[in-house]
Amino acid sequence: MARQQEEAGRPVGKMVLFGAITAGLYGAVFAHSDWVMEHFTRGAWYAALPVATVFLFSFVHGAFASHLWSVLGVGVSRKPAQPSPRKTRRLVRRRRPQPQLRLNA
């Protein structure tokens, strides 16, 4: 049950969306690699092109990678990575406080 809930919360849709955008961007660069190389290596103000491109790719591909690891179930550890002082465990189950009717007269 818990596992099903966990799987249902995995961002498959987002992963597919960002994956498709990433693939599209890579496809666009490599399909026009001659034009890209000609303009991106001109230097001077054209330096903005490669820098802006890596920012764009790191945003889109970074989001895809993040969702991919989530979908694959590789997430942040639920237990703390560092040792922490041991908490004393309650052995007896306590009942939750229930609302009670009281008359303040």
Partner: protein, 362 residues
């Protein structure tokens, strides 16, 4: 110069094998960087050069992939509460000065002793720094693994923190209050090393741990901020000269952005001594790799006689050892993550059994 660079960039042949090589090394490098804060990209420059990429283009394209990778890694680890932004920016400012001084020293050595002298200086810097610092980090990691217990602030850091030399800065996430003047030499040395061997983090992370007093978790995460700032400035500089081959950068980035996030996730799973163990191991193997290259440069300078065959063999062995260092580091990270997952899964199963028995009792 720009025209020459354009010609050099245009003539690089990208086949499936070279794309795969760059992607895989990018992934492994990203994994290591995400985990220990740096040290994942040093194989890429010689790796690209072995594929026929000119040296300057290899350095520029590598640097242009490093800063977005560091940015994504820093963002991820910031979300986990591991990054001390103030410490990172303070260190990066002084590291920038260190880079400039490092470049000047390199230029001076190049003008006096030529290319072989410069290569020898870089290799010796690698060996001296990595053996001394890496050896210390590795010994500390082994001691922690053997005797257990929490990571403690070093006596040097405690002594420096106790000196009230204005301006005193409180680094909140690192939970450290120290004089600004004691962060300066650490940042400066990080920059100097970055300009010399291209991996400033090999001194930046141990410096933050043993001199400033940050935990290895915070130090390795904060190093990513320094790597981003320095990498961004360096990339803009290379791009202005038209040296960045965006195709190479994007292929490496495709692998490294996957790796850096996995490495960042890994830090939440393991104990802090694992970060030190991985860092120390990689540093010692890389030092060994560079030591193998020393005889060749001594031979070029005419200080010793080294047969050409032996020199070539040692160069190949040196590169193979460097790759092995990165591979061993990645294997240690993945192994530690796997162990942690298995451990984490065990109590869950016990819990399920317990819940079932509760339900049966009802």
């Amino acid at each position: 110069m720009q025209e020459a660079a354009q010609e050099a960039v245009r003539f690089i042949d990208l086949n499936l094998l070279s794309v795969l090589f760059l992607f895989v090394v990018g992934f492994i490098g990203g994994l290591v960087s995400g985990f220990i804060g740096s040290g994942g990209a040093f194989v890429l420059t010689p790796g690209m050069m072995s594929l026929g990429v000119p040296g300057a283009v290899a350095v520029a394209s590598n640097m242009c992939h490093k800063f977005p990778k560091a940015m994504v890694g820093a963002y991820k680890r910031f979300k986990y509460g591991q990054v001390d932004l103030k410490l990172g920016i303070t260190m990066a400012a002084t590291a920038a000065i260190g880079v400039q001084v490092g470049i000047r020293i390199q230029q001076w050595i190049l003008s006096v002793w030529g290319e072989a002298g410069s290569d020898l200086y870089v290799s010796l810097a690698f060996v001296v720094v990595l053996v001394s610092v890496g050896g210390y980090v590795f010994r500390d990691a082994r001691r922690l693994a053997k005797y257990g217990g929490d990571e403690k602030t070093s006596s040097l850091a405690k002594r420096l923190q106790s000196i009230e030399l204005p301006p005193m800065i409180h680094f909140k996430t690192a939970n450290v209050r120290i004089s600004f003047w004691f962060t300066v030499p650490v940042g400066f040395a990080t920059g100097m090393l970055a300009a010399t061997i291209a991996v400033g983090g090999f001194i930046g992370v141990p410096g933050m741990i043993y001199a400033i007093g940050a935990s290895s978790l915070v130090a390795s995460a904060t190093e990513l901020v320094i790597a981003f700032v320095m990498g961004f400035a360096g990339s803009v500089n290379w791009a202005i000269h038209g040296m960045v081959d965006i195709r190479l950068t994007l292929i490496i980035l495709a692998g490294s952005l996957l790796g850096v996030q996995l490495g960042a996730i890994g830090t939440t799973m393991v104990r802090q001594h694992v970060i030190k163990a991985v860092m120390g191991t990689i540093m010692l193997i890389v030092a060994m790799s560079r030591a193998m290259a020393v005889p060749k440069y001594l031979g070029k300078l005419g200080l010793v006689e080294v047969p050409a065959d032996l020199g070539d063999l040692l160069s190949k062995l040196s590169f193979a050892t460097m790759c092995a260092g990165l591979g061993v580091g990645a294997a240690m990270i993945l192994g530690a993550m796997w162990k942690s997952r298995v451990k984490e899964a065990q109590p869950t199963e016990a819990k399920e059994v317990l819940e079932k028995s509760y339900e049966a009792a009802r």
